[in-house]
């Protein structure tokens, strides 16, 4: 087991002018489950492939433990790509299906047997070892495939969108399985996904990338409560955070007919506008505040989501999403007012997008 370090690691594709991954600095602890997440083209898969040895590193270094693997061939890195389309062999027993790669590598028989036994125990497959894969359920087969990676006892597991070809129901189920298995094995794992819900539910820490640049790396909780910039604020969370461009006024920002107080020191560095972020669940119905014209009411039982637009004549139109009590939602077409809950407002510089601490 080992740590993983990206040390200013950079990937520039031949003929490309902008790096696909730009001086990535990221340290992953021994045994940690780290998720790389971001929109398509952000560099998350490229980063993983640099670690796997599939992409050349044009600048910086990559270390597994203390070992610089920047130029080491993939098969000598002691990593395992986990279930990239594993197939099970119908005529071989479950034990042979799990251990065959060790056999190819010339591992002694006793050693193979021991490792397969160990993996089977963790995967709850012990009583099936002598059976053929056909006799197993879909979930058990999937565990056999995981067993194949586990018996290799790699230093690091790499997973690139492993759930992308599953349907929604199976995806949620498998997500939980992978996360709990990783915790039991304690093997350092780097996991790539475009789905922020997957990232937030699985990772010990989450690294958000955009345009080849690391935006933030934090625990899911911290990422949700304290996004470092507008991009992370809008990317993490579903439904997304409301991001409103508002006028700065003396002592705060204008929220409709109220003023949301902001410390003078925080305001001094910004211009005459800033971006205020507030999550849908942090907006409260109120007599005054942001006027919102309700366009759609999505009733979910206990809660309801209001989709509306900011009713400010002469101003840029903003979409607003708010979570309200499902038993007494406002009516479609009506205009209501919202104020943010105290302490749940995020402020960002309108130009740089960086968080303003207040």
């Amino acid at each position: 087991m080992a740590t993983v370090t990206f040390d200013k690691a950079t990937r520039i594709y031949p003929g490309g002018d902008k790096p696909a991954v730009d001086a990535l600095d990221l340290h992953i602890e021994d045994g940690e489950f780290l998720v790389l997440v971001g929109p398509s083209g952000c560099g998350k898969s490229t980063s993983l492939r640099m670690l796997a040895g599939l992409e050349d590193v044009n600048g910086g270094r990559i270390l597994i433990g203390d070992r610089d693997v920047t130029t080491v061939p993939p098969k000598d890195r002691d990593i395992a790509m986990v279930f990239q389309n594993y197939a099970l062999y119908p005529h071989m027993t479950v034990a042979d299906n799990m251990g065959f790669a060790l056999k190819i590598a010339g591992t002694p028989k006793e050693e193979i047997k021991r490792r397969v036994q160990e993996a089977a125990k963790i995967l709850d497959l012990e009583q099936y070892l002598t059976r053929k894969p056909k006799a197993l359920s879909g979930g058990q087969r999937q565990r056999v495939a995981m067993g194949r990676a586990i018996v290799r006892q790699p230093q690091v597991f790499l997973m690139d969108e492993p759930l992308s070809n599953l349907d929604a129901k199976l995806r949620v189920q498998t997500r939980t399985q992978i996360a709990s298995l990783q915790r039991r094995l304690g093997v350092t794992t780097v996991y790539v996904t475009h789905d922020q819900v997957e990232a937030m539910t699985m990772g010990d820490r989450v690294a958000v990338l955009k345009d080849g640049l690391l935006q933030q790396v934090d625990t899911p909780r911290r990422m949700y409560d304290h996004p470092n910039n507008v991009f992370v604020a809008g990317f993490i969370g579903s439904p997304a955070m409301n991001l409103l461009t508002l006028d700065v006024t003396d002592g705060g920002v204008k929220l409709g007919d109220t003023v949301h107080p902001v410390e003078r020191a925080a305001l001094s560095a910004t211009g005459d506008k800033l971006t205020l972020g507030v999550r849908p669940e942090d907006l409260e119905l109120s007599e005054r505040g942001l006027p919102v014209q309700v366009e759609v009411v999505e009733e979910l039982g206990a809660d309801a989501y209001i989709y509306g637009s900011l009713a400010q004549p002469g101003k840029e139109s903003h979409q607003v999403i708010a979570r309200v009590d499902g038993r007494r939602p406002p009516e479609k077409g009506s205009t209501v007012h919202f104020t943010p809950k105290v302490g749940h407002v995020h402020l960002f510089d309108q130009h740089s997008g960086q968080r303003i601490e207040s």
Partner: protein, 420 residues
């Protein structure tokens, strides 16, 4: 803002296939009635796959999610355009709902490759080690071609490949492009990873055939066959791409290199030649090589579409025809036309209609030439083509299986992401 939307059936296809609309898209693929099916696969695969008869065509229909279906469709189209041997995509169908309005998976439709064989169909009871070797050799050629094009496969295996007979050898075609990616140039790491995956998968697939009792070899033999993918790949890759230096006086080596590449079935599209400052050493490096040297020449001369080795065989026969008729100085196209009319076509016509689905034309011709050689040796005299073809049709061809449409999802390994 998300509000419920109504979906309607969407067909994305390069060419219109109006018959596609006649298929029961509101029924899960697993429950399609027999009347639409060309064959029913017996095994379990990661996705539900069915072979469907549509007019004179056989199509493979695979259920998967919309994103993957569109991605693989685009990838296969690109590979087809780049003339990489792969199955041809026909359509992607999304927005399926069943009769109760519940959404169904999207599908990818590809055309079944005629006369192709899954690797487990390369043997009936026992797999001869030699056959396995030839399959691996064909896969090595395919992998080199894919890598030259910039295609990283990610899941190289015998199961993801189809094989067509090619004059005693095999020609390999890519079937499953789901994990693949196309780059301008592949990194060494990507190529090495594909090779490592290929070696492991081939060994696993052979171990499975051994476990089934259809291959009687030990573990060392399995490894020696699976290691071939690496040795064959490396030999071909270096011949096709590596620079070569020699003394200025040895300029014949430029010609020799091009000939070697032609022999391997590749045309040289671009060759970089550089000399050092004092001009004593010459360095050559192939920059662009295109597979299909012999098949292109055969196509140009005769209009016949054949695999590389078949083409070589047919061209050799054309050469002997020219020599025997003393027509070497004549226009090649004209002689080729006569060879078609006097030699190739009569052999094809000698095959009774009911046996024509057994082998492709060029492969049949190759077999008849082999048979003639065998007859001549036994008789101790030159047996004519006419006699050979009749003997072949009477004694050999009837026992051959029909290979026009061997549909083989049942021969795949069991995919793990299978059922709920």
């Amino acid at each position: 803002m998300s509000a419920p939307t109504t979906t309607s059936l969407q067909i994305t296809a390069a060419r219109p296939y109006p018959e596609l609309l006649d298929l029961p898209w509101d029924v899960p693929l697993e429950e399609w009635p027999d009347k639409h099916l060309a064959a029913l696969p017996r095994g379990i695969s990661r996705h539900v796959v069915r072979f469907v008869k549509l007019g004179s065509r056989v199509l493979a229909v695979k259920e998967t999610n919309a994103e993957i279906a569109h991605r693989e469709y685009r990838m296969l189209r690109l590979l087809n355009r780049l003339e990489v041997p792969s199955v041809s995509p026909v359509a992607v169908i999304t927005g399926r709902v069943d009769r109760d309005g519940e959404p169904l998976n999207s599908v990818l439709v590809t055309r079944h490759l005629q006369y192709s064989l899954p690797y487990r169909a390369l043997y009936s009871q026992t797999l001869r080690p030699d056959t396995a070797k030839r399959a691996v050799d064909a896969l090595a050629v395919l992998l080199v071609r894919l890598h030259l094009t910039g295609f990283y496969w990610g899941d190289v295996s015998l199961s993801n490949t189809l094989f067509r007979r090619d004059a005693g050898a095999f020609a390999a075609y890519l079937v499953d492009a789901e994990t693949g990616e196309l780059y301008d140039v592949l990194s060494t790491g990507q190529r090495e990873y594909d090779l490592d995956v290929a070696r492991t998968n081939i060994a696993g697939e052979l171990m499975d055939v051994v476990a089934s009792g259809a291959l009687e070899v030990d573990m060392d033999d399995v490894l020696s066959i699976s290691d071939r993918i690496i040795s064959r790949y490396r030999a071909l890759w270096s011949e096709l791409t590596e620079p070569e230096s020699f003394e200025r006086g040895e300029r014949w080596r430029v010609e020799a290199r091009i000939r070697r590449l032609n022999e391997l079935g590749f045309d040289v599209g671009e060759l970089a030649i550089t000399t050092d400052i004092d001009g004593t050493t010459v360095r050559i490096e192939p920059k662009v090589v295109d597979a299909g040297h012999h098949s292109r020449r055969l196509l140009r001369l005769t209009g016949l579409d054949a695999e590389e080795n078949q083409a070589r065989r047919l061209l050799n026969d054309l050469d002997s025809y020219m020599a025997a008729a003393d027509r070497q100085n004549e226009d090649e196209e004209i002689v080729a036309h006569d060879w078609m009319a006097e030699v190739f076509e009569p052999v094809q016509r000698a095959v009774p209609r009911e046996m024509r689905g057994k082998l492709e034309g060029p492969e049949l011709f190759h077999e008849v030439l082999e048979h003639r050689w065998y007859l001549s040796e036994r008789a101790g005299r030159d047996v004519g083509l006419d006699e050979a073809v009749h003997s072949y049709v009477d004694s050999v061809l009837p026992s051959k299986p029909d290979e026009r449409a061997v549909l083989g999802v049942d021969t795949q390994a069991i995919r793990v992401i299978a059922e709920r």
